[in-house]
Symmetry: C3
Subunit: 150 residues, 3 copies
């Protein structure tokens, strides 16, 4: 049930690139979470893209001259260990620098990927609180079904 | 002093519906917080609406075909218990599904309501830190006045 | 490596004022963090401005009649003590009320400044996790260099 918020200057990439990027980040986050890559689990991964008008992203108090990109992944508490979070940061940064044409040497100051957790008991979907354990059970069931289908 | 961020695809509802929805969510959050429903307490409840241009909300890495809605309520730490948070999730989801015409069977994958706390000591208003205890005192005073007026 | 998200109604200030404000808030946050005010440290301070279309910022469930302003400073965990956070809130509120022409008596209900921490191990830049200790070492090195240059 993760969400990925992606923020960058409007016009920096095309709508096709936007879709490919959202798709790549979705796959990277599901992989980092070790979630089953099924249609259902993909469908409950949202990407929300914030294309910022000219002059509204600033660094050092001045509008950026070359695109900077911020990604924030939001997951239920406990979904990512330190190691898996690092995996996501690496994969997301690679996808972003390729999409935006950002040289690796500039990613330190131009590509930031943060991770935010929603506290247990604070995520509601379908009108009720969804607990992390329920998502884990759904994932286990999906994996069992996948195994059975083989 | 809560805030409600509401995110959905641009054009999904009219500006009249937007205002009614913001009003309903404001009332639902004040009710969940057991805050006095006075003009002052309503005035310090903000709703910020993010209407996303076509193609910028994606699920499963693809632009959504039917509106999905994200609500994030932000309150001072300690303002909502688990039970009251669940009340807000239920009421907010009901208001959203009615406004957007989302069938109940689809709210699990289309309506997400999360709750975020601002840590004690991290909320500033009027140029200084506002502590949760101060808000509680203001609420108690408002209730006493209301009682006195009856 | 802080970020400052600034949200207010579109058209409330000019693009020149926007840039001055972003610059002032950047300086205020670096000062509160006791970070060296060097070009490098300024360059890794981002400001992201969200200019909200008419009718999308509401208080008490109604579109605001006069601008309200929300600032959220995001820093690595541990970067700000309570005292320094209060300093930032005060300085940011002063800059905002001057820029928007908000009388001091109205800042309690019209200017909110919150602080959010990114948990240690959850901030990635340049494709890898950046630990707060690394930022502190960079800051110490910058200060030593500054001292040597004198």
């Amino acid at each position: 049930m993760p969400m990925i918020d992606i923020t960058y200057p409007e016009g920096a990439i095309s709508s096709e690139q936007r879709e490919t990027l959202a798709n790549d980040l979705t796959a990277a986050l599901l992989r980092a979470e070790r979630a089953p890559d099924t249609e259902f689990f993909r469908s409950i991964t949202w990407a929300i893209v914030h294309e910022q008008p000219a002059g509204t992203m600033l660094a050092a108090g001045r509008p950026v001259q070359a695109p900077v990109v911020r990604v924030e992944a939001t997951t239920p508490e406990g979904a990512l260990s330190d190691r898996r979070r690092a995996e996501f940061v690496e994969a997301a940064t690679k996808a972003i620098s390729e999409t935006f044409g950002i040289p690796e040497s500039e990613t330190l100051t131009r590509v930031w990927v943060t991770h935010r957790e929603i506290a247990e008991g604070s995520w509601g979907a379908g009108g009720q609180i969804i607990h992390f354990a329920q998502l884990r059970e759904m994932a286990a069931a999906a994996r069992a079904e996948e195994g059975a289908a083989v």
